[in-house]
Symmetry: C2
Subunit: 200 residues, 2 copies
Amino acid sequence: MSTSPLLEQLIDALRCLPGVGQKSAQRMAYHLLERERAGGRRLAERLAEAMEKVGHCERCRDFSESPLCPICSSPARDAQTLCIVETPADRLAIETATGYRGLYFVLQGRLSPLDGIGPRELGLDVLAARLATGEVAELIVATNPTVEGEATAHYLAQLARGHGVRPSRPAHGLPLGGELEYTDRGTLAHAFGTRAEILR
Amino acid sequence: MSTSPLLEQLIDALRCLPGVGQKSAQRMAYHLLERERAGGRRLAERLAEAMEKVGHCERCRDFSESPLCPICSSPARDAQTLCIVETPADRLAIETATGYRGLYFVLQGRLSPLDGIGPRELGLDVLAARLATGEVAELIVATNPTVEGEATAHYLAQLARGHGVRPSRPAHGLPLGGELEYTDRGTLAHAFGTRAEILR
Ligand SMILES: [Zn+2]
Ligand SMILES: [Zn+2]
């Protein structure tokens, strides 16, 4: 028997967080009620606001609360260089670790025909239209060094060449089979700085 | 540079959860935005409601959204047996693992003079008044088998005897130095069932 149905509902709701099971959810709820009511209230407000207002940038598909995200709408960024990443977390990792000043395009996934994820699901029709304008000179393909990521990179390199855009790929140095998001900053910065053109 | 200030604020707010650092908070926020908006909204609502409405039961000090919790106000429970625990999590563990049908009293801590936690901070004046009424026949002292928990148990046993109440303690079998909350159900149920009277 619980002493509070509202507490039980909170524990249940916390389980929608990744990696949080019954025991962790319970510990979190008790912690908030015992020591962090202000933090819990702030979290409730920010959660509600983010779920309501954070959508996707029309141009780069990263998270954004305005139609164009701050990076895409910044005149200080170099529009001739476009970096393709799989996820917002990868975009943030590159932005934090490297001195990159170009723009981004977030696939929100990778090509995976067996899961029904093709070029359209990754917004590659939108990307192709952008490459067709001629404003992009170099396409940095920073998909993960996994089998699917490499296949996606191969597809993107062909797409770029088809529009007269030079494709490149961050240098190896990324741990093979690993995830870009979890690569240490130094390795990531080095790999990004020594990227090589994709020759075929 | 972030693409969404609201997203950054959400990540920041998630860090008030225990055991959640920058990287986990980021993963949680992305997960909710990408795949669990409904769950995120529900969590926001339940958090707000729980932070607002869940207080403490006047009688047992466990969490409750009403002045008296459902256990304290249940006529089906045996008011002659009172079980003392350190935390709501301990109370829940006993309730889930054992067939106990008496009432509880939650210390919300343990005696720790160096931290300024004395009898009054644990509500022992309220407990003493309750023992003085004569309605309690047995006081089961289920504090954790740690140094401070044992010291607290000793104090409580003396308090009980002073009011003519028989103190008891769940049988050993609990791992020494461990936390009651994380004990497996079988061990906890066994220890609870074979509790022994505290003789001195
Ligand atoms: Zn954008
Ligand atoms: Zn109660």
